[in-house]
Symmetry: C2
Subunit: 225 residues, 2 copies
C-alpha cells in the first residue's frame, strides 16, 4: 500500500440575512498562503474530531460565531487547489440567525466580515467555486425546506419571511398566495404578540413549530414553495 500524504480541511459557507440582504461570512487570512486575502472560514481537521466538530470548531475559533444550521455541501479534491500540496476540503453549508451576529476574529483570521452575496471580494483557493455552489444550494433548498426559519429571529412577522424569500429567489412574491401556501404547510404557529415597525399596522408574530415540522418530515411530506 502506498503512503498517502493527502491532508484534509473543512470549509464553511455560512449565510445570514438582514434587512433584505443575504450575506456570506468571510475571514481575512492572517498567514500564508493567500495571506491578507479573503477566504471561507475553515482549516485542518484534527485526528480525533469528526468533520462536523471540525467545522464548528474552526468557525468558532476564527469568527466567534455559533452556527444554527449545518449540512455537508460538497468535497473538493482537485490536484492544485492548494499551493501547500495535496489538500482535500470538505465544504459545509451553514445558516445563522441575526441575533448570533457577534463577530470576533482570531487564530488564523485577521478580520471577519459579512459580505453581500452580490458584492463579494476575490477569494483564496477555490473558495469562489465553493461559495457559488453554496448559493445555488441556498436557492434550491429554500423552495423545498422551510430553512428560512434558521435565518430569521425566533419570532418574526410574516412579512419578514416573505421578504427573505423574495430576496433569495430574486423575484417578487404575491403576498396572498405566499401566505396561503405557507400557512397551509402547518409549520407556523401564530402568536398573540404584535410588533410595530414605526408606521403602519402592527404585524402578528409567528414562530416555527419544530415538533410539527419533524413529524411531517417523518410522514414523508414534501414541502414546496
Amino acid at each position: 500500500m502506498n503512503t498517502q500524504s493527502i491532508r484534509l480541511t473543512v470549509d464553511a459557507a455560512v449565510f445570514g440575512y438582514e434587512e433584505g440582504h443575504i450575506s456570506a461570512l468571510l475571514i481575512r487570512r492572517k498567514y500564508e498562503p493567500f495571506k491578507g486575502q479573503w477566504a471561507l472560514p475553515g482549516g485542518f481537521v484534527l485526528n480525533d474530531e469528526s468533520l462536523e466538530d471540525a467545522v464548528e470548531r474552526e468557525l468558532h475559533e476564527e469568527t466567534g460565531i455559533k452556527i444554527n444550521y449545518l449540512e455537508q455541501l460538497y468535497s473538493y479534491g482537485n490536484l492544485n487547489r492548494d499551493p501547500r500540496g495535496r489538500v482535500v476540503s470538505i465544504a459545509y453549508f451553514g445558516l445563522v440567525r441575526p441575533d448570533t451576529f457577534k463577530l470576533i476574529a482570531s487564530t488564523d483570521a485577521q478580520e471577519v466580515a459579512w459580505f453581500g452575496i452580490h458584492a463579494l471580494p476575490s477569494l483564496a483557493f477555490d473558495h469562489k467555486e465553493i461559495l457559488t455552489m453554496a448559493i445555488d444550494r441556498l436557492k434550491a433548498k429554500i423552495t423545498y425546506q422551510p430553512i428560512g426559519f434558521e435565518l430569521l429571529d425566533k419570532k418574526f412577522p410574516f412579512s419578514d419571511l416573505e421578504k427573505l424569500y423574495s430576496t433569495v429567489l430574486g423575484r417578487d412574491i404575491d403576498r396572498r398566495n405566499f401566505r396561503k401556501k405557507f400557512l397551509g404547510l402547518k409549520v407556523l404557529d401564530e402568536l398573540d404578540e404584535k410588533i410595530s415597525k414605526g408606521s403602519g399596522r402592527p404585524a402578528n408574530l409567528f414562530q416555527f413549530n419544530q415538533k410539527r415540522y419533524f413529524q411531517l418530515i417523518k410522514e414523508g411530506i414534501v414541502f414546496e414553495i
Copy 2:
C-alpha cells in the same frame, strides 16, 4: 500546525437495472479488515489523482466495469468507521448500462456481484449507511433528471423506461400519462426500428437525445416526472 494522520478513500455505490430489478454492485474483500465480507468497491486515493479518477480506477481494478454516470454522493468522517484508524471516505453515486455488465474481480476483490437492492448482504464498514443514502438519491434523482437513460440500453422500447420508473419509485405508473409527460420533455427520439419480445405487438425503439437534453438544461428547464 499539527501533523495529520487522516487517510482518504473513495467508495462507489453503483446501480444497474435489468429485468425489473435494481441492483447494487458489491465486492467481496480479499484482505483485512472485513476480509471475506461484502463491501462497496473503493480504496485509497493516490497522491496524484483526482477524486473522480480514484473512483474510476478502483471501480475498474476491482470490478472490471466502466462507469456510465458518476456524481459525488457524500463524505463520511466518523471517528471509528474504519478499524485501521482515521479514514475519511468520499462516496460516489454511479449508474451503469446493462451492456457493460461484464464483471471481473481482481486486486482487493475476491469476488464481484450484483445484489438486488431488496436482498443486500451485510456490509463492511459503514457501507450500509452509504448505500442507503445512495438508494434515496436514486429515487429522488430519477424524478427530476432523465437519468433512466444511463440504466437502459442505448435503444429501448418505451415500456422498458416505464418499468424502470415503476421499479425505482415502487408504484404503478399510468402508461398514457407517463408517455405523454415524457415525450413532452422532447428528449427522446423515436426510431424506425421495432423490437419484438416473443409475443405481443412489437414496440418502437427510442433513443435519448443528449444534444437536445443539454440544450434544455442550459435554458434552465426543469424536468419533473
